[in-house]
């Protein structure tokens, strides 16, 4: 009996891991509005924008990053691939900047829809999503491979 339960648990864990893995395998894309006037960003520029080091686009206008806290797995995956940091480390990083009166963290979208609206309404807005979830009016400016 014990062995059978153990096997079943192992099977479930394998399935869960497999599914999670499949989800995380897809590319993540950094996106901007089609009207942004920006064709591509470098990894360093994406880091500067999302970590608040320097929020200027190659076009000269201000970059307005937006986070997706309503999808914690996406947010975690994004920062993992961008700077290899856990969400707790990103929060610690922001607590230093916020409580020393420096840059604010990216805008925290309350929903996927709000994030999309922000991205299409603001030419300087920069967001991220899974590549299969990208609406056609948003332009890919950087791709984060698995």
């Amino acid at each position: 009996m014990k062995t059978r339960h153990g096997l079943r648990r192992l099977l479930i864990i394998t399935l869960l891991l497999g599914l999670g893995g499949a989800r995380a395998d897809g590319a993540l894309v950094v996106v901007m509005s089609g009207a942004s006037g920006v064709d591509s960003l470098t990894r360093e520029e994406v880091i500067n924008i999302f970590l608040g080091r320097f929020r200027q686009l190659p076009s000269g206008q201000a970059a307005l990053p937006v986070d997706q806290p309503e999808d914690p797995a996406l947010l975690a995956d994004f920062y993992q691939r961008l700077v290899n940091k856990k969400p707790a480390e990103i929060r610690a990083y922001w607590s230093r900047l916020v409580f020393s009166g420096k840059t604010a963290p990216p805008r925290q979208a309350k929903s996927h829809e709000e994030g999309l609206k922000w991205l299409s309404d603001n030419p300087g807005a920069v967001g991220y999503m899974r590549s299969d979830a990208r609406p056609s009016q948003l332009k890919v400016v950087f791709t984060l491979g698995p």
Partner: protein, 393 residues
């Protein structure tokens, strides 16, 4: 009224004031946010013959009994964005400070203007950024150790100034070059046994250059302070010949702080190396070399760390020494010690971390500047045990 009643009342009044102002609904179109940070920290040492302080703004340090005074802090901050370019920030902090109470004080209150992403101007009450982390050293959640290394940061009693700063950034060679200049007047006090050194009115100016690329950050910094008041020991100076006393007086003389730092922060690996050299244009505060190195490595929610810090000062030669007096006086300001520290940070839930740390401090018996209430038993060495719960909200 007892001191503790006064402390509690001041604390509650401060909080009420802050919450009250926070509850006034901002005009529409403004961006308003309220947040805070805090640490509940307990510490004790293995040695009752001196009390090590977190920094020189504290009148008492850690003793052989567990105490919450050294590291515990609560801060509340309101941000008001008038437009994408203009914002106001106010922060109040309650902690064990110069007068032995937890009376809240305004640590930040400024208007910030960011006309372009490359330029930021701020005016009002601003945290001092003498060294890389010194404007956020009360925010325990933001760093790995229980407290910033005392050998390095402890000699700075300056937390804020009333003044202005300007910061600029520009891409350079695939990385980012940032710089900042600041100037302001101190409004703080530093306790001196049962007296207070009034630093209010002292002029602080400084600046730094940062270069960031990938996981690397390098910083060169300079800051200086010109005290507006003498140490509260005129009774001692008046016993000395005028020429000798004048060499020791700090008023109107500059103290200089040069610093260099390298951070390498790549995924789970975090390292920091900082060095500083301070020198004074008077013979009281000793010229000091200080430095530290921290290595931390995250494994899941745990970040064990190990570090080394050291500080060594030396007295100025006096033109008019009074043997037996001036050398004993100068020794009050001496630091000569090394610390090996190790511990771990556990991010056990969102916005909270628990930390434990042991500091093994070894120094010479005349290393007394970072301690309060030393006795004749003091031999320069002690072990310090610390636990903390850090949070942000």
């Amino acid at each position: 009224m007892s001191q503790s009643t006064r402390t509690t009342r001041g604390f509650i009044q401060g909080l009420a004031l802050l919450w009250g102002s926070a509850l006034i609904p901002p005009a529409s179109g403004m961006d308003f946010s309220l947040g805070g940070f805090g640490t509940l920290g307990a510490a004790r040492t293995s040695d009752g013959s001196a009390e090590i302080v977190r920094d020189l703004s504290q009148p008492h340090g850690v003793t052989e009994r567990w105490s919450l005074d050294t590291d515990s802090v609560l801060g509340i901050q309101a941000n008001l964005g008038f437009s994408p370019e203009l914002q106001a920030v106010i922060q109040a902090v309650s902690r064990h400070h110069y007068d032995g109470t937890y009376e809240p004080e305004i640590s930040w209150a400024f208007l910030g203007f960011t006309p372009t992403p490359a330029w930021t101007f701020r005016a009002g009450r601003l945290g001092t950024e003498f060294y890389m982390l010194s404007d956020s050293r009360l925010v325990g959640y933001s760093y790995t150790t229980v407290r910033p290394p005392v050998d390095y940061y402890g000699t700075l009693p300056f937390n804020y100034v009333d003044g202005l700063d300007v910061a600029a950034a520009r891409p350079l060679a695939g990385g980012l070059l940032k710089g900042k200049l600041y100037a302001g007047l101190s409004r703080e006090q530093s306790p001196w046994e049962d007296r207070q050194f009034n630093m209010s009115g002292s002029l602080l100016v400084g600046g730094y250059l940062d270069y960031l690329k990938g996981p690397w950050q390098v910083r060169l910094g300079h800051a200086r302070v010109q005290f507006d008041n003498e140490l509260p020991i005129d009774d001692f100076y008046s016993l000395l010949p005028a020429a000798t006393a004048n060499e020791l007086r700090v008023k109107d003389h500059w103290s200089h702080f040069n610093s260099f730092g390298i951070v390498y922060d790549e995924g789970p690996l975090q390292t920091q190396l900082m060095l500083s050299k301070t020198f004074a244009e008077h013979a009281t505060f000793e010229d000091t070399w200080a430095g530290y190195f921290i290595l931390g490595y995250r494994v899941q929610d745990w970040t064990p760390f190990v570090g080394l810090s050291a500080a060594k000062s030396s007295p100025k030669d006096l033109n008019n020494p009074i043997p037996g007096y001036t050398d004993a006086y100068q020794a009050y300001f001496r630091t000569d010690q090394r610390t090996l520290f190790l511990g771990a940070r556990w991010d056990f839930r969102e916005n909270m971390a628990l930390k434990a740390q042991v500091d093994i401090i070894r120094g010479s018996p005349d290393s007394t500047f970072l301690y309060r209430w030393e006795t004749s038993e003091w031999d320069g060495s002690m072990n310090l045990f610390s636990l903390s719960l850090d949070f942000v909200f």
